[in-house]
Structure formats: structure tokens, C-alpha cells
Symmetry: C2
Subunit: 366 residues, 2 copies
Amino acid sequence: MKTIQVELAEKRYPIHIGSGLFEKLPQFLEGIGWGRERRLMLVADSHVSPLYAERVLKPLEQAGFTVGQITHPAGEESKSLHTLERLVEDCIRFGLDRSGAVLALGGGVTGDLAGFLAASYMRGIPFIQLPTTLLAHDSSVGGKVGVNHPLGKNMIGAFHQPAMVVFDTDVLKTLPEREILSGCAEVVKHALIWDASFADWLMEHHRQLMALEPEVTAEAIERGCRVKAAVVSQDEKESGIRAILNYGHTIGHALESVSGYGAFTHGEAVAVGMAGAALLGEALGTATEVFPFTRELLAAFRLPTHLSPVWAEEELLAAMKRDKKAKKGAYTFVLPTGIGSVVLQHGVEEAAIREVLARLRGGESR
Amino acid sequence: MKTIQVELAEKRYPIHIGSGLFEKLPQFLEGIGWGRERRLMLVADSHVSPLYAERVLKPLEQAGFTVGQITHPAGEESKSLHTLERLVEDCIRFGLDRSGAVLALGGGVTGDLAGFLAASYMRGIPFIQLPTTLLAHDSSVGGKVGVNHPLGKNMIGAFHQPAMVVFDTDVLKTLPEREILSGCAEVVKHALIWDASFADWLMEHHRQLMALEPEVTAEAIERGCRVKAAVVSQDEKESGIRAILNYGHTIGHALESVSGYGAFTHGEAVAVGMAGAALLGEALGTATEVFPFTRELLAAFRLPTHLSPVWAEEELLAAMKRDKKAKKGAYTFVLPTGIGSVVLQHGVEEAAIREVLARLRGGESR
Ligand SMILES: NC(=O)c1ccc[n+]([C@@H]2O[C@H](COP(=O)([O-])OP(=O)(O)OC[C@H]3O[C@@H](n4cnc5c(N)ncnc54)[C@H](O)[C@@H]3O)[C@@H](O)[C@H]2O)c1
Ligand SMILES: NC(=O)c1ccc[n+]([C@@H]2O[C@H](COP(=O)([O-])OP(=O)(O)OC[C@H]3O[C@@H](n4cnc5c(N)ncnc54)[C@H](O)[C@@H]3O)[C@@H](O)[C@H]2O)c1
Ligand SMILES: [Zn+2]
Ligand SMILES: [Zn+2]
């Protein structure tokens, strides 16, 4: 087992990564001072719940904890105020009070949704992230939680740090291949923004990671979490540097929003966005020759780096304008300065973005 | 004009109280460092908007600010996730981004709703409270924001402190009498929990306050805000002493919940709750002879101190059990230790509460 500490101004919390960790949950809870009088509500989606809820419930119940259980439909559509209202209802009926806590067992959807439940239930109770997707090595760390609005992704949310993250890597075995690759996109992102040697390591080990070879998988998750933890500890509420974690997400979110959530996995959309950011960086002169390696690395993970013409340019631009990172109407992008480093660039002109969208559509980025 | 500073661990903010203050909003914004590039969204309800939105909009627009406007239906029913979703839609369409802010113009309903909008929109933007009810001297200070769930009041929310509170007392003139009296209940609460001399002063000046005589009104608001600010600054997130602000609210909230929001004003429900807390304190021996003065003071403000038998005891008890202050199933009450001081009492037994409910129904408390 590997443990990383996330150090924040007012708080620190551990990330445990390894095999067979759900069995040790009672000890981990003890480690953060949680006693049996704290009622727990386990939230999972309709795919994850039948697979793994028991694995979490059993050791906790055997150790004397009282655990309720909520299952929400799998899929991005569940990240909504509507689902939140249903979750709150279940928590009230279960008798969860301010001394209670939430366990978020699942991918980024459950983590964001159940995290926002914890952030807003009775004005905030603690929660623990139990990620079950590779992508969730990213989403489970850092405290960004929330739901979507029909007009935009993650429009309603909070910063609410988990009390702990327990990543039992055994659960990844059942993950559909496309979801593994989606998670690889965020692993690649962490390497590209922060750590060139991590990027090279990923290029070398991409086959083992895609095959979920245990050692490589745990190392990839650990290194990815280290990047995330380092950035978040410098800027918990995204007033500055944290924005670099949105590398690839400006175009990525626009693509998700225009295509309707579900057509792309999050990672696929972000992969296209990182290809676009590399092209944009080269065009604006923040970096040279980052696109070829970026494309090669993403392609190694069978992630897309081009844009189908069915997604209309005007709609993508409109969606980007609505992006949370857009300040006062100008476009803001995270751009590469090299492999392993990026910069936050404000006031990017529309013409440059149109050019990049055109190139993403052309043969160039295939 | 009177100004109180609310001092918190990481933040301080001013409360301005006086006549004609909305005209000075541009200066006040300058005072907290807000420039014209910050888009503002004014939220008000369907009663307040036609009366006072212009008074807020005009000086700001003349000073060069861009201000959007949302009107939501008046009434407690608007404190819902459903209304929140509509507000978020309007904010997105207006182009409000992370550099924007919310102005909450209204009573506690608008303050709580628009405050939660600000707390959760794009994971949190700043907001200003512009209270228009007497009750809102309480709700606008301290950062508790949120919405109701069909199963319970204020079940979904956040702690999100305003950047400023501007109480223009001129707007109280149009307040329906019943709402004035509702606000008086929270003024009385602040006196009863903290400041015996304030309670005596209220007994002496109740007629002038109910008539909204300007000097007395401003002084009552100021003294009430001082109590609130003092308590909140000691315990921003209600981990301890702040719970005393819920004096009268355990029974009060149960009554609102059982009667369906709307049958009672918030203040009326809290008045019955304070009468109940006084009786309970006497029964449990935390205080002696607090009930007669409590009843007299509430009656002076024409507030109810008895309970109609139509509200079933079992339902009231069930609602109290769901109360956020209930920890692990036991009843928790704020009880008087005298006039001007209270104590937080855990583990209050059901039998004692049943007795008090019976006495509140009887002639005794009329
Ligand atoms: N909060 C953050 O910082 C942050 C960061 C990145 C992404 N996100 C969010 O994360 C979400 C995407 O996360 P995701 O890709 O994990 O999506 P997801 O939670 O929907 O999981 C993907 C699919 O895999 C299934 N699944 C999960 N674990 C499984 C397992 N072990 N075995 C079999 N099936 C399993 C799920 O049921 C779902 O169908 C998006 O909503 C995105 O906005 C948040
Ligand atoms: N956040 C807190 O700390 C806190 C504290 C106490 C109460 N509250 C909440 O406050 C709410 C009650 O607040 P309220 O009593 O102000 O209710 P409210 O906001 O509904 O206002 C009462 C009525 O008066 C009208 N009104 C408001 N200002 C007016 C004016 N100047 N002239 C004419 N009409 C006017 C409103 O339209 C409404 O019909 C409850 O939801 C309660 O939970 C919150
Ligand atoms: Zn992402
Ligand atoms: Zn109140």
C-alpha cells in the first residue's frame, strides 16, 4: 500500500492506494478518528453497487458501524439537482444527521454527486472517496464536487475536501475498457502538465497500464495523485495555479456539452482538448513541438486526437464562452510551455481557436 | 448610519444600517474593492422586485455597473432546488462568470436562496445581502444559506458569508404588519439569549418598534445584529456556541414543517418555540421564572405563545427528531438559564417535551 498526504492550509488527509484496501476500512476510519456512533451513508451507482457495495459494507458492519445505502442510476445524467434531491430524501429517511458521513463509492460521477451531497446536506458533513475508476484517481482528490445544469457541466457545486481517499485497485478489474482508457487520459494530463519523466514512463508502460498490470497501475495512480495533491495544496480553491488541472478541459468540456453528455467519455473529450491545447500552444508560440509527442502518447492509449465535423464550430465556441474559466468573455486556456509544464493564458483570440478546431477536424491530428 | 463589523477567523465584513443606503451602494462596493468589471445579478422576489429593484439598480447602473435581474415567486416554496435550478439558468444566460457576484434583495427567503445560489454557482461566488424585512436582520448575517427539502427545512445549504450587508431601513415601510411582528420575534430572541438589558429595552419600546419609529427600529436592528455578529464570530460553522441562535427553533421548525410552510410566519413559529423552551427550562430546572417575562414580551409584540391542538403531538415530535440539531436520535434544546442567557442541552427526554407541548396547548401559555 502507498499513502500520500494531501496538505492543505487548514486540513490534511491521506490517500491510500493498493490492493485489498476495502477490507481495512474499519482501521482506516479509526485512523481518522471516526467512531461507530457516526452513521454512514454509502452512495454508489447502479453498475458499481451490485459489484462492490458488499465489499465495503461487510467489514464496516462487522466492525459495528451502521451503514445505509443509496444506489443512483449509472451515468453522467445522475449528476443533477434532481438526483441530489432524491439522495437527500434517502439520507433524511435513514436518519443521517450532522454527525453522519457519506461514503462515495464509484467513479467521478458518484464522487462529484455524493461529494456535493456531503457538502450541502445540513450545510455540510464529512465524506470519504472510494474511487472505482482509473479516472477517479483525479476526481476523488482535491475537493471539487458538484452537479451539472442542463446548460453546463459542473455549474453547481462546492469545494469540499474528503476526509480520506481509499483507492482499492482490485475493483478496476471490472472496468469496461473504454473507461480504463478514459482514466488514462487524466493520468496523461497529470504527466503533461507537471512531470516530463512521468510522461516518458507512461510512454514506456502504456501497454501494462492499459492491461491493468497491478504494479504499473498502482504506480500510475500514485504518480497521478501526487501531481494532483501538489497542485491542490498550493491552491485549494482555484484562485491561481490550480487552473492548470483544466489542461485540455476547455475544448473537452465544450465537446461534452455540445455532443450531449454520454457520446464521449470524459477522458476522450479531454484527450481531444489536450491535442487542441498542444496545437494552440504551438500556434501562439508558448511551446514548440509538443503536439507530436502529445498525439503519440494519447494514441498509445487509443485516445482520440481529432474532432468529427459533426460538432459545429459555433456551438463549441459558444460552450467555451460559458466555461467557468472564461473571465469577462475572453477565452482562457491552459497552454503547454513544453512536455511537463503549462501556463495559464488569458485573452486567447477567437481566430486562433477557430484555426485549431479546423486543424483538429483535418487529417493533421489523426 | 450605523456600521457593525463581523469579525471571522479568515474574513471580516461590514453591516451598514440606516436610511437611504441603497443610493450609496456604489460607494459601498468601492469600499470593499468591487470594480465595474464585476457583473452583478440582483435577485428579489415578486413582492420586493416591483417595490425596490429600481432603487438598487439605478444608482449601480448610473455608476457604470452591469446588473442583471431575477425575480422569483414570493414565499417559502421558492426556497427549493427547483427554483435554484432556474436561477442558475438565468445566471448562465446573463453570462455571469466566476468574477461575478449576487445581490440578494429581500427577506430571509431571498437571502437564503440567493445566498445558496452564490455559494454553489460555479462552486461559489461572492454575494451581498440587502435585507428588506425586519426578520432579515437575523438571516442576512452569519452566512447560513440554503433551501428546503420537501422532508425538512434548510436541509440543503452551505456556510457562505456575505461580503457585506446593507440594511436600508426605508424599505420596511411597506412590510405587511404580520411580517413586522415575525421579525420582532427574532429581535426578541437575540435579546433573550444574550442581553437582558436589550430585553428590557424592547419591553419599553415595543410600541415604537412595531410602529417602525425610525430611531427605535435602527437601534433594535443594530442591537440584534450585534448579538448575532458576536455569536457568529465565536463559532462560524456552528460547532458549538452558535447553536444558541436556534433558541425557540426546535419546536418552531417542527411547527413550520408540520403545518406546511406558510401557515405560520417563521417568527410566529419561533415565538411558540421560545415559549416552549422557557417552559421546558423551568421544568428541567435550568431556569426559574423565565416563562412569565418571555410570554409577556412576546405578547407585547402580538406573537403567539400557545399551540393549537390541530398540530398533532406525534408529528411534531417526529419533525423534531429530524431536526439538524438532533444528534444520534436524542433531543437537543437551547434552554434558558435566565433572561439574557441560555445553554445547549443534549439528551432532553421525550416525556418532558410531551409535557411542554401539552402545556402549550393548554390555557397556561395564552
Ligand atoms: N471533481 C473533479 O475534480 C473531477 C475531475 C475529473 C472528472 N470529474 C468528473 O468525473 C466524471 C467522470 O468520471 P468517470 O469517468 O469515473 O465516470 P463514471 O463515474 O460515470 O464511471 C464510468 C462508468 O464506469 C462504471 N464503473 C465505475 N467503476 C466501475 C468498476 N470498478 N467496474 C465496472 N464498472 C465501473 C460506472 O458505473 C460508469 O458506467 C465526470 O462527471 C467529470 O466531470 C471530476
Ligand atoms: N439564514 C439564516 O440565518 C436565517 C435566519 C432566520 C430565518 N431564516 C429564513 O428566513 C426565512 C423567513 O424570512 P422572512 O420572514 O424575511 O420571509 P420572506 O423573505 O418570505 O419575506 C416575508 C414576506 O414579506 C415580503 N417582503 C419582503 N420585504 C418586503 C418589503 N420591504 N415590503 C413589502 N413586502 C416585503 C416578501 O415578499 C414575503 O412575502 C425563512 O425561510 C427562514 O428559514 C434564515
Ligand atoms: Zn477531467
Ligand atoms: Zn429564525
